[in-house]
């Protein structure tokens, strides 16, 4: 890397214009492509006002989203804290789409705009395009069109069936949002256009073929009983592909009471949920990647004399508050800060590649001293998620730096126990525990549909397989079950079992 001082910085002072933005964008792009080898979607950077940012922020960050009261709730909440000056707004929002849309606030100063562009338009953008989870689970090409379509669809339903009716379904569907992804089979590969067309066709068909007479057909006649009894339960399970962990999808497909448009609403919520599924699992990596990229690019800009010392100071100030990691006994501690952890790990990887210590050679024989840190990082960004990334790359060095330690908390014990600290004996244990805490399987409870007899009483039976005897938050659990009851139309029961299958609790909503 030649250090050739530019004759003139890209900008001085804090004011920005579109010309300056353009100039700076090009300088950033050059470094991103040539030095880091990033591979991004084309960028579309939108300049918006603070109020618009507030708007976007409270609709789960999406520019197009169907209307729902819960977004209004988040809006009034954020509006209040923003107005009172409690919280600064996010500097940027970036959307996993092609082209990659990012929002910059007009109030940002030019140094911050530079930071934001490097962070979102290159860091996040590269991650979205290359990470395997995003490639597998999201459809960057079609997401905006699909959301546009859903927005219109929801509005149309509201008009046709009433706001309350739509709200009832959406509320219930939102309650199941965390259980709307089929994790193991690969997601259905339908482009958004096909999906829309299919849904529409399906709906029209069902509406056309709806025959009111069916309602009057007597149900559950006794003569069927011996049949039903004889029916092999396992046959039934096979037919319905039970157990099923994608609760929302199962209900969408099999609920005895939902109308076509209601099923379609469920499908929409399922789509949104799936779209965000990779983001949940890559907070550390995604933010780490973006932070590492902006840190590298801004420093390079400074080295080349393209930004002034003043601008660099402003950027560093903002950077260091983003990657601040409070210690466990300090106010404001809320677990690991994903920015700090991700950025720390990626910097550490860079160091290991360039300047390894003997310890690193032992822990990371493949990459220690290889020199080509860009490639190692690109590989990590593409092929890992938080859990596996930590399991693979958290180094003793960083564990010492952050002075990590693990604590076990057993409800039956009056004490917490320190089980590992940042020493030779503890490294692996700390790393493993930290990785586990990012595993979606341990963060979210495992709840599956285990049985339903569609020809019998139609009771929907759910099973919660407890991990480490951790129960569900009870009030919320019962409320969610009520929502499920609405969607299913018949009794819903939930049984909690331990890993070995022994029953802990059972509850039923009828």
């Amino acid at each position: 890397m030649s250090v050739e001082l530019a004759t003139k910085p890209l900008f001085e002072g804090t004011e920005w214009t579109f010309d300056i933005l353009d100039r700076t964008y090009n300088a950033i792009e050059q470094i991103a492509l040539e030095e880091l080898g990033l591979d991004t979607y084309p960028n579309q950077i939108e300049i918006i006002s603070a109020e618009q940012m507030l708007d976007a922020h409270s609709s789960v960050g999406m520019p197009l989203m169907y209307h729902h009261w819960s977004f209004g709730k988040h809006f009034v909440q954020e509006e209040k804290s923003y107005r009172k000056g409690f919280s600064g707004l996010a500097y940027e929002i970036v959307i996993n789409s092609n082209p990659c849309i990012s929002y910059n606030m007009e109030q940002n100063s030019m140094p911050i705009q530079t930071l934001v562009m490097a962070h979102a338009a290159f860091g996040h953008n590269h991650f979205f395009k290359n990470n395997y989870l995003f490639q597998q689970w999201t459809d960057a090409e079609g997401v905006l069109d699909y959301l546009d379509y859903t927005k219109k669809f929801v509005a149309r339903c509201e008009e046709e069936y009433g706001i309350a009716a739509v709200e009832e379904i959406l509320d219930a569907a939102h309650a199941l949002m965390d259980h709307a992804v089929s994790r193991y089979p690969r997601p259905r590969e339908l482009t958004k256009k096909e999906r829309e067309a299919r849904e529409e066709e399906h709906r029209e068909y069902e509406e056309k073929s709806f025959n009111d007479l069916w309602r009057t057909v007597p149900t559950g006649k006794p003569e069927e009983a011996p049949d039903a009894e004889a029916e092999d339960a396992s046959e039934r399970m096979r037919e319905l592909k039970l157990p099923e962990e994608n609760l929302l999808y199962f209900i969408e497909r099999h609920s005895p009471v939902l109308l076509p448009w209601q099923r379609q609403l469920l499908g929409i919520v399922g789509y949104v949920s799936q779209y965000f599924y990779p983001q949940k699992q890559t907070k550390v990596m995604n933010e780490g990647c973006a932070t590492f990229v902006h840190h590298y690019i801004l420093n390079r800009l400074f080295d080349k004399g393209l930004i002034t010392e003043g601008a660099m100071l402003e950027v560093l100030h903002s950077h260091s508050s983003v990657v601040y990691q409070p210690e466990f006994d300090q106010p404001g501690y809320r677990g690991a800060n994903p920015y700090a952890l991700g950025f720390g790990m990626m910097q550490d990887i860079q160091r290991i590649c360039i300047d390894p210590k003997p310890e690193d050679k032992e822990w990371f024989p493949e990459i220690a001293g290889c020199g080509n840190w860009q490639e190692v990082l690109r590989d990590a960004w593409a092929n890992y998620r938080d859990e596996s990334f930590i399991r693979q790359f958290l180094s003793p060095n960083l564990i010492r730096q952050q002075r990590l330690f693990t604590l076990t908390d057993d409800a039956s014990d009056r004490h917490y126990t320190v089980t590992a600290i940042h020493d030779e004996a503890g490294y692996r244990r700390v790393r493993e525990t930290l990785a586990e805490s990012y595993d979606i399987g341990t963060i979210e409870p495992d709840i599956q549909i285990i049985d339903v007899d569609l020809r019998g009483n139609r009771e929907l039976r759910l099973q919660h397989t407890m991990t480490n005897k951790i129960p569900l938050a009870e009030k919320m659990r019962d409320e969610v079950l009520k929502h499920v009851r609405v969607l299913w139309g018949y009794d819903v029961s939930l049984i909690g079992v331990e890993a070995d299958g022994s029953k802990v609790y059972e509850t039923k909503i009828s």
């Binding site: 964008y25 300049i47 709730k73 057993d410 126990t417 005897k469 129960p471």
Partner: protein
């Protein structure tokens, strides 16, 4: 390729729909909080937005979530000071987690209050809800300032319908004089003389020279007249209209209330709403509004708002004492020639039997001539309301006041049992266009 899109001019209120949906959702809780809040507010600042907290019931978004308590869990923390492997740490007494204790309660099970900001409009809307105000009145009350257009001099620009003919002609006249535009009379005179000479035929050299001169003069005048138009664009003046706040006048509102033992909390609550509505109206209409609180039992006194609504007195009920007190205050501080006087009286209708005639007398002779509007509400039990449907039935005071109502159109009286009953008392007031505007 351009990478930037300027969206700053796009519409802002993308979330308005969501916000309204949310408000509708939480309506019941918000309503309750607003009502409670109004109880605690002074009449004069009812119409302000505020931060409210509502219980999360009905607006939480439940999910299947792991409980914060119970089971066995391992966690990683940063910033170890002096812990060693195997150390035992006493669990804090209450609160789950082990987050260091501090944040634990806030992660509980959604029992917290949800706090947010209500704007003035939203606040009033909710407040008006059960007052059953007509939409027009609601709109009227919500508007903060109303303006009327008033003439304010002249301007050089404007629309044709605002031309001030007088001023325009005056300007044109002045200009014509200054530029010495020949008047048509001068030209006419010349023409007459020329005609004269031409008719009788030029008799002499003198006549010929004279005719020549006249013609030359006529031509001069004619040309200069054509050069100096009668009406030039520079003369035109337009009436200038200025936005002015509604009449800059003052109003005083007398709140009279019976505070004897028979007025319970419900009655006072209704009375307060009654006063608030009148005050909102006055505040809209007048630049300055004063409120005088007069409470009475068998004797009356002027008190502050706090005492007015919240302290209790015991004793009989003599309404005329309040009227006397009102007159006294009015004479002392609010001369009728510079104040608009409004009065609102709330009572449960009791009065000392002999006092009725005295009241009629005072109202008829002294008070009503001073007042813009006198509104009386008799607060009755909800169950009794049917009984009072016909105006002829009512308690002591009602009977006396009926006589007043017959003589004075600006006197209004009504039985109320619910907030929805209040508005009709003011219907007259709100439908009347302000005469002084």
């Amino acid at each position: 390729m351009r990478h930037f899109v300027d969206r700053r001019l796009n519409p802002k209120d993308k979330n308005l729909g969501n916000r309204q949906k949310f408000m509708r959702r939480a309506r019941e809780q918000i309503k309750k909080v607003v009502d409670d809040s109004i109880k605690g507010r002074s009449i004069t600042n009812v119409d302000e937005g505020e931060t409210i907290s509502i219980p999360t019931k009905g607006i939480n978004e439940p999910r299947f979530q792991n409980s914060r308590q119970g089971g066995f869990r391992k966690r990683v923390f940063s910033g170890n000071k002096d812990f060693n492997t195997g150390d035992k740490i006493e669990k804090p007494e209450q609160g789950g987690g082990g987050d260091g204790g501090k944040k634990a309660s806030d992660a509980g099970e959604g029992e917290d209050e949800f706090t947010f900001e209500l704007s003035r409009e939203e606040f009033l809307d909710i407040y008006f809800e059960d007052l059953e105000l007509p939409d027009l009145v609601k709109k009227d009350l919500r508007e903060i300032k109303s303006f009327s257009y008033q003439r304010a001099g002249f301007s050089l620009t404007g629309t044709p319908n605002q031309i001030s003919v007088r001023r325009t002609i005056r300007n044109s006249f002045g200009r014509r004089i200054a530029l010495q535009r020949p008047s048509s009379v001068d030209i006419d005179d010349l023409e007459v003389e020329i005609n004269d000479i031409e008719l009788r035929g030029p008799q002499s050299d003198h006549d010929l020279v004279r005719l020549d001169l006249l013609k030359q003069k006529w031509h001069e005048l004619f040309v200069s007249r054509r050069g100096i138009p009668y009406l030039d664009p520079v003369d035109i003046r337009y009436k200038r209209l200025e936005k002015r706040p509604r009449p800059n006048t003052k109003a005083v509102m007398f709140c009279l209330m019976d505070v004897s033992g028979s007025m319970g909390e419900r009655e006072k609550e209704l009375a307060k709403r009654f006063f608030i509505l009148l005050h909102l109206f006055l505040k809209r209409r007048y630049e300055k509004t004063d409120i005088v609180f007069i409470r009475h039992t068998h004797e009356a006194s002027e008190v502050d708002e706090e005492t007015f609504f919240y302290s209790r007195e015991s004793g009989g009920t003599v309404v005329s004492t309040a009227l006397t007190e009102m007159l006294k205050v009015q004479k002392d501080r609010y001369p009728a020639d510079s104040w608009n006087i409004y009065a609102a009286q709330a009572s449960d209708g009791d009065n000392f039997p002999d006092d009725g005639d005295k009241c009629i007398n005072m109202l008829g002779k002294e008070i009503m001539p001073l007042c813009q509007y006198f509104a009386y509400v008799e607060i009755v039990d909800e169950r009794e309301l049917d009984m009072f449907q016909t105006t002829s039935v009512g308690a002591e005071l009602w009977q006396s006041y009926r006589a007043v109502k017959e003589n004075w159109p600006n006197f209004e009286m009504k039985h109320i049992a619910r907030p929805g009953d209040i508005y009709p008392v003011f219907r007259e007031l709100f439908t009347k266009q302000p005469a002084e505007a």
